[in-house]
């Protein structure tokens, strides 16, 4: 099983996404997929390199500078180039983080009415927050301006929320405080979330964890080498999140 990290067209977080995917140890190989390079004039003839069961990782940051709304243009480009048909055909697994989540949402994969809108209260914010993951509370950074998750009525069948905002100091207006969605469609696992697990590989990455913790916990044999983000990613890649 290999992983492909999308790159190019203004995508930003491909490097840290790649490092995290390698660190997870879940993949045979982690490859970059430079979108402008494979995107020929004849869209139908694009040679997507995927094989059955591969993971495609959609990194965070911006794409195309997002002047038309976050993730909109990249979602359109992927759709027009037959990307989502490949996902169905080969049973590919997808992980979208932040902008990647916005791309997946814009593509309609989490339901036609599911959207990520501008934060309310508004504006781009970068901070570390507490989130409720399936088994415990974890701390991860968020950095987004359009993370207010909304949908009409109920989420489509098969789509579930797996991550919630649990920090009183951070609100972006998401319905039911949902920060991440997961969807099982045939053999494909499709996962999207606003926070950035890919830069929480070590507990020391957390601005509240520091050397004293390290030395003390090390002495007592309690130190966990693995950050909350890496643990979460591994769970997703191993499909233990459902």
């Amino acid at each position: 099983m290999n992983a492909y990290v999308l790159k190019g067209w203004g995508i930003e977080c491909d490097e840290e996404m790649k490092r995290a995917a390698i660190a997870s140890g879940c993949f045979g190989e982690v490859r970059e997929l430079v979108l402008p390079k494979i995107s020929t004039e004849n869209w139908a003839s694009i040679a997507w390199p995927f094989e059955k069961g591969d993971w495609v990782l959609l990194p965070g940051g911006f794409s195309f500078s997002d002047h038309f709304g976050s993730g909109k243009l990249l979602a359109l480009c992927l759709r027009d180039r037959g990307f989502f048909e490949k996902v169905n055909e080969l049973g590919l697994n997808l992980l979208g983080i932040c902008n990647g989540f916005q791309v997946l949402t814009e593509s309609g994969i989490f339901g036609a009415s599911t959207r990520l809108l501008a934060n309310a209260p508004g504006g781009f914010r970068n901070r570390w927050i507490t989130l409720k993951a399936p088994d415990k509370n974890i701390r991860l950074p968020v950095r987004h301006g359009e993370g207010r998750l909304v949908w009409d009525n109920d989420l489509p069948v098969g789509v579930k929320a797996f991550l919630h905002y649990a920090d009183e100091d951070f609100r972006n207006g998401s319905r039911e405080l949902v920060a991440g969605l997961i969807s099982q469609q045939g053999k494909s696992l499709i996962c999207g979330m606003m926070p950035h697990p890919e830069i929480a590989l070590s507990p020391l990455d957390d601005p509240d964890t520091f050397a004293t913790d390290y030395f003390e916990q090390h002495r007592q044999g309690l130190w966990q080498e693995e950050g909350a983000g890496l643990a979460l990613l591994r769970k997703i890649f191993n499909k233990e999140i459902l």
Binding site: K7, G8, W9, G10, E12, C13, E15, E16, R19, V34, P36, K37, S39, G60, G61, F62, F64, S65, D66, G122, G123, F124, R125, N126, R127, W128, P141, R143, D169, H196, E198, I199, L204, D205, P207, D208, F210, A211, T212, Y214, F215
Partner: protein, 687 residues
């Protein structure tokens, strides 16, 4: 091995007439400086220093009639930095915002960037016959005469013209990724960014490497029909890099794969001339000697002296220092002022973690409310080795004595970077000047003094670099920061970067557990002179107005040498303590003095402080000086630290309740102070 490079740009005049465009092109423009270093470096961290007109300043005072309103400038600049940085995928890891009424004449926008490149990519390798390309955006009439406009007084027609461009970070992001791959494939022999002066400047500069260049602008991609030849040559349209290559076909192929547009311009020659063709005709043909060396060097003289300066500084009369009884109120007012209030509202708008390298964030603690000094960044290019870079910067333009101004700027940059793990013997400084016009003339008699200050600044920087054995590796100056006779404060920004210790040694910026003992290193030459207390109260509390002692310049310089030596010793000792991992939490004592530093360290985990003082003595707690720190130590190693820092004193003990307790009786509610400190951030001042 990896090398890193550092550059900071000023974009003051553009930001004065078009705040959003000026600030965003300033930041995106300095990224290109990094991209044009060696045969291409990758920008990986930015920092900004922004100086705005104080919105709390008297509304009825005279102000330049052509200047845009303060709010328009502030909001536009912040939005420009937000978009320029976030959409480029380059983290903004630190910064400063300074307010003063004088910045109505021009806002200051300093944008700095760090870049990383392999040792093998440091030297350019241009040869005669290399093919020249311009890659990235097309050329338009935007940005014409930008450099000219920045080098004189603002004129009414500047606002309607096209001197300021609007940045397209997306175009540059694609360009950057393509150029880094082209570099790694050996397709680039030389590269220079296109900024002020456009192709005339970039190719004109490249021509020096082989003693000649010939280009043809007939087929240049343009945004509009009918651009004149000189416009094509001089346009400062953004997102363009000039590249020399010996493998043009492979270079074009790779550019096409990335979807990056290019123009083949011509070749490097040895003709000793810079030749430009348009539609088969010679547009210009200039000898390189004339192009680069014909401009005569300016020789400036000033009649101003230290004696005159000293007399001017001493003229203010000192008022009584506020008493310890009113200290709580005084402190709350300080924290609520524009100068000292929390910068959270602005910092959170800038992505400071993209690329996943930031190992010391701008804020620390569970609440992420303690501002942390210095940045620590990881060079992630080499997965087999851990390499770190520390960054710090400083400025103190409000300090009226120029010696005070310069030494505080230098000191703050080093203080910060030491707390980011800086290794002094592997460091490099960067100086950025934004000065009012220093050319003395009949209409500008004050320029005599401004020029003297410029000269003195250069002499001080020179002394510091020799005394500390740290080189200045780059810099930039902007010398026309005045409008309609209004001058800005003489503003020097010093930045410093160096390879750094590992995150396990680097101190964080907040108190952690009850019972931790808190120490402080008293600042050298501490005084209330130009302190935050004086600024907020708009008065003087001390008759001591000069940092250095001496009636003449010889005495001053002797005193300076003594002081620089003392400072160096402090840096070495604190640096050694960091290296050995003795210091757990630390902040430097800067604006607001000892009390502010201690207060800010309480916020990260909302803990309190039992002080070993009976009351808040204003002189001790509000004075500002050089090389001061507040710190906590690994409990098992206090003796070791005391040996290393013998002048360290006990400040108090961390405790659980969120209060500051003086002796047994007086208790300060930190929640109240916290609200004063944060009210601008929570109430939309920065949005």
């Amino acid at each position: 091995p990896w090398a890193f490079c550092i550059k900071m740009e000023t974009h003051n005049s553009p930001s004065a007439i078009s705040p959003y465009g000026g600030a965003s092109t300033g930041l995106v423009g300095v990224h290109r400086d990094i991209l044009g270093t060696g045969i291409g470096a990758k920008p990986f961290a930015s920092w900004d220093v922004l100086c705005f007109e104080d919105p709390d300043a008297d509304m009825n005072r005279p102000r330049p009639t052509k200047a845009l309103p303060a709010d328009v400038i502030r909001k536009g600049v912040l939005r420009g930095i937000e978009d320029g940085g976030n959409q480029s995928g380059i983290p903004t890891v630190q910064g400063s915002v300074v307010f003063d009424a004088s910045y109505a004449a021009k806002p200051l926008v300093f944008a700095g960037t760090l870049g990383v490149l392999g040792r093998q990519h440091v030297d350019k390798d241009a040869r005669v016959g290399d093919t020249l390309f311009c890659v990235g955006g097309a050329v338009g009439p935007d940005g014409l005469r930008g450099a000219v406009m920045s080098s004189r007084d603002l004129r009414a027609d500047d606002f309607s013209g096209s001197a300021v461009q609007v940045a397209q970070p997306f175009v540059q992001r694609c360009l950057t990724e393509f150029l880094i791959e082209a570099r790694d494939r050996g397709l680039i022999s030389t590269v220079t960014d296109n900024g002020a002066g456009g192709l005339a400047s970039s190719i004109g500069e490249m021509a020096q490497s082989t003693q000649g260049a010939a280009i043809d602008l007939s087929h240049l991609r343009t945004k509009f029909e009918g651009l004149h030849g000189w416009e094509r040559l001089l346009s400062e349209s953004q997102e363009r890099m000039s590249v020399g290559t010996r493998i043009p076909e492979a270079f074009k192929r790779l550019a096409n794969e990335w979807g990056v547009e290019w123009d083949e311009l011509g070749k490097l020659t040895s003709s000793k001339r810079f030749e430009v063709l348009l539609d088969g005709k010679n547009l210009i043909s200039l000898s390189l000697e004339f192009l680069h060396d014909a401009c005569p060097r300016m020789k400036l003289e000033t009649s101003w002296t230290w004696k005159k300066e000293k007399a001017l500084l001493a003229s203010a009369l000192a008022q009584n220092v506020p008493s310890a009884a009113t200290a709580f109120k005084t402190f709350a007012r300080l924290l609520a002022s524009t100068h000292l209030s929390s910068r959270e509202g602005v910092v959170r708008r800038f992505d400071h973690e993209v690329q996943g390298r930031t190992r010391k964030l701008p804020f620390g603690g569970r609440t992420e409310e303690s501002p942390q000094d210095g940045s620590l960044l990881e060079i992630t290019e080499d997965p087999t080795r851990e390499t770190f870079v520390a960054l710090g910067h400083g400025l103190a333009p409000w300090r009226k004595d120029i010696h005070d101004n310069v030494l505080h700027s230098l000191d703050e940059s080093v203080r910060q970077a030491i707390l980011g793990g800086l290794r002094m013997n592997e460091a490099g400084f960067l100086d950025n000047f934004s000065w009012p016009d220093p050319l003395p003339s009949k209409t500008r008699p004050q320029s005599e003094r401004i020029l003297w200050k410029l000269l003195r600044t250069c002499e001080l920087l020179s002394s510091a670099t020799r005394s500390w054995d740290v080189p200045f590796v780059s810099g930039k100056d902007s010398m026309k920061n005045n409008t309609e006779g209004f001058d800005i404060l003489e503003t020097l920004v010093v930045s410093v970067a160096a390879s750094a210790e590992s995150p396990l040694a680097v101190p964080h910026g907040f108190f952690t557990r009850p019972n931790d003992v808190v120490f402080y290193l008293p600042p050298l030459r501490a005084s209330l002179r130009d302190s935050m207390l004086e600024r907020v109260n708009a008065t003087t509390f001390t008759s001591d107005r000069c940092l250095l002692l001496g009636e003449n310049v010889t005495d001053l310089d002797a005193d300076l040498d003594r002081l620089l030596f003392q400072m160096k010793q402090r840096y070495e000792n604190v640096g050694e303590a960091v290296r050995r991992g003795l210091i757990r939490a630390a902040k430097d004592i800067s604006e607001g003095g000892l009390l502010t530093a201690a207060f800010e360290m309480c916020l990260g985990r909302q803990v309190g402080l039992q002080l070993e003082f009976e009351s808040c003595d204003v002189e001790t707690f509000f004075s500002e000086g050089l090389t001061g720190f507040v710190l906590t130590c690994d409990v098992h190693r206090i003796t070791e630290l005391e040996k290393l820092l013998p002048d360290m004193k006990r400040l108090g003990v961390v405790m659980k309740p969120f209060v500051m307790r003086w002796g047994r009786d007086t208790e300060w509610d930190l929640e109240k102070l916290r609200q004063a400190y944060r009210h601008r951030s929570t109430q939309g001042f920065w949005s």
